[in-house]
């Protein structure tokens, strides 16, 4: 069955699942080893997470993305998905425009890459247009300036599906599998909560707000009976490159799931999955990119809080909201749900929305940084701000996966196994 993705176009699915066919197609192709990031994005392209793009972008699409925030054909697109390569690698691997190569990962076949174009593009322009800055301390800009000499553009066909390791296995679903799950659950409206965090109760209330907002004008009695929900929250965890001090991905995924397992969200209204993506911290443009990914997963709504996908002070708090609001509805077929922060009010004695509570001088704002600090000091937070079951999973994840810490350390970066592997064909 043909599925429709972003831009109203058929969902891209460029995957050869038959091993015999895959072996035939790759026979004789030059092998080019892909970095973790390129392998991750090739997988994402092939499964349709970045639909309608069918491969790594060619120059016209990169130019249109940078200058007009759209692909060359006018489809909204905000972040270039590019394959960078050095002149030396082009020479060493004998890469030629018009030929196909076999991308490998860890020495095993991954995907056929039809090299339609070899080109250069101004890194200054990418930095300026996508990130709004050329400062190299912006991580997305640093990534841009680290690109090698040239880019390769062309279609990708996955020939060897990745094996996702534990504990991530059950949480990795392709766009097609997401849609099948939503159908099974009979969800008509699904709101994305995008996260790279362990949840505190401020996050929990954001999700609850977004769920009710997304359910909107549908009959409220649909929410009443357990098992009868027609709306859902999809917590879609971004799993990708980590920096020291981030939560480990294992803790993020397992703690988000624990909220439902421990009953803070009813079983039939909440689900956790993950998407492989290296955060660019592009703020507003990344909010658009996340909207595109979640459209492709089959969601109807996407929650956006303060400073979505931002870093430091590069973007003002609601800049992402303003950019999303400026896009005509027919060009982005997912409805944004804009949410304000929730904070603890000692006067109200509860967690409340900053837009509702009148005790403005007393509000104690949630801070991911502060909660991280509390956990690093090995102090159990109060249950008003952090569910005890979630804290227990954080500590357990630290022991099982984090070499003693729930945060990314040098040891984790050096020793943690990649989230997926590719086996010999």
């Amino acid at each position: 069955m043909q599925l429709i993705g972003h831009g109203g176009k058929p969902l891209v699915e460029r995957v050869i699942t038959d091993k015999a066919e895959a072996k035939k197609k790759i026979a004789g192709l030059k092998k080019v080893p892909a970095s973790r990031q390129m392998a991750t994005e090739a997988i994402g392209i092939a499964y349709g997470f970045f639909s309608p793009i069918e491969g790594f972008m060619k120059k016209a699409d990169v130019e249109a993305t940078c200058k007009k925030m759209e692909l060359a054909d006018g489809t909204i697109w905000s972040i270039p998905i590019v394959y960078d390569i050095s002149d030396k690698e082009i020479a060493d691997y004998g890469i030629k425009q018009g030929e196909s190569v076999l991308l490998t990962f860890d020495g095993n076949p991954l995907a056929i890459f039809d090299i339609e174009e070899i080109y250069t593009y101004s890194k200054d322009e990418i930095a300026e247009k996508v990130y709004g800055t050329k400062e190299e301390k912006h991580p997305g800009v640093a990534r841009t300036y680290a690109y090698k000499d040239k880019f390769l553009g062309g279609k990708i066909t996955l020939v060897n599906e990745p094996k996702v390791r534990e504990p991530f296995g059950p949480y990795f679903l392709t766009p097609r599998q997401h849609r099948a799950k939503f159908q099974e659950k009979k969800w008509q409206r699904i709101v994305a909560h995008q996260t790279r965090n362990v949840p505190h109760s401020g996050h929990e209330w954001l999700m609850k707000h977004a769920y009710i907002a997304a359910h909107g004008d549908m009959p409220v009695e649909q929410m009443e009976a357990p098992g009868g929900a027609t709306s859902g929250i999809l917590v879609n965890c971004i799993v990708g490159e980590k920096r020291a001090g981030d939560y480990i991905d294992e803790a993020i995924v397992l703690t988000q799931d624990e909220l439902r397992k421990s009953g803070y969200f009813r079983e039939d209204i909440h689900m956790v999955t993950m998407t492989f993506w290296d955060m660019r911290y592009a703020g507003p443009r990344e909010a658009v990119h996340h909207s595109i990914i979640r459209t492709n997963l089959g969601l109807t709504h996407h929650m956006f809080g303060r400073d979505h996908a931002g870093v430091g002070t590069y973007y003002h708090s609601y800049q992402a909201h303003h950019l999303l609001m400026s896009i005509p509805k027919e060009k982005l077929n997912i409805t944004p749900i804009y949410v304000l922060e929730w904070a603890y009010c000692p006067h109200c004695g509860e967690v409340t929305c900053i837009g509702l509570c009148g005790h403005t001088k007393e509000l104690q704002k949630f801070s991911g940084t502060k909660i991280r600090s509390i956990i690093m000091d090995e102090v159990k937070p109060t249950r008003m701000i952090f569910r005890p079951e979630v804290f227990d999973v954080v500590m357990d994840s630290a022991k099982k996966f984090g070499f003693g810490s729930p945060f990314v350390t040098k040891e984790y970066l050096a020793k943690a196994a990649p989230a997926f592997r590719v086996d010999p064909l």
């Binding site: 020291a244 001090g245 430091g312 002070t313 603890y344 000692p346 967690v351 104690q364 949630f366 801070s367 991911g368 940084t369 502060k370 909660i371 991280r372 600090s373 509390i374 690093m376 000091d377 090995e378 102090v379 159990k380 937070p381 109060t382 008003m384 701000i385």
Partner: protein, 101 residues
């Protein structure tokens, strides 16, 4: 008053009892629904020295405006010094101790 840049040392039940028993509970502030915290102030110069001595730490200029990601063992030493001296103004002494090795 000059701007200060805090190091937040979060206090568990055991430490709270010890501070209370020693008559030092007054040094603590309460944040985030009853969490107890020792807020140790740094001047800009002290902040910069701490960030140099402990390169894994960061100054969060965007949200909390505090020094973050200091290892627990480092914060434990600052906590012990504050309790010993019965004051929060311990960063000069702490930095000197670290620089001495």
């Amino acid at each position: 008053m000059a701007e200060t840049f805090p190091i937040n040392i979060w206090i568990n039940e055991e430490r709270f009892k010890a501070l209370n028993d020693a008559g030092l509970a007054g040094l603590l502030k309460e944040e985030l629904a009853g969490m107890k915290v020792l807020i140790v102030p740094c001047t800009a110069e002290q902040r910069d020295k701490v960030l140099t001595l402990f390169p894994m730490a960061k100054y969060d200029a965007a949200t909390t405006k505090s020094i973050e990601l200091l290892p627990k063992q480092v914060k434990d030493k600052i906590y012990e010094l504050a309790v010993r001296r019965k004051t929060l103004n311990v960063m000069d002494e702490f930095i000197k101790e670290v620089e001495k090795g």
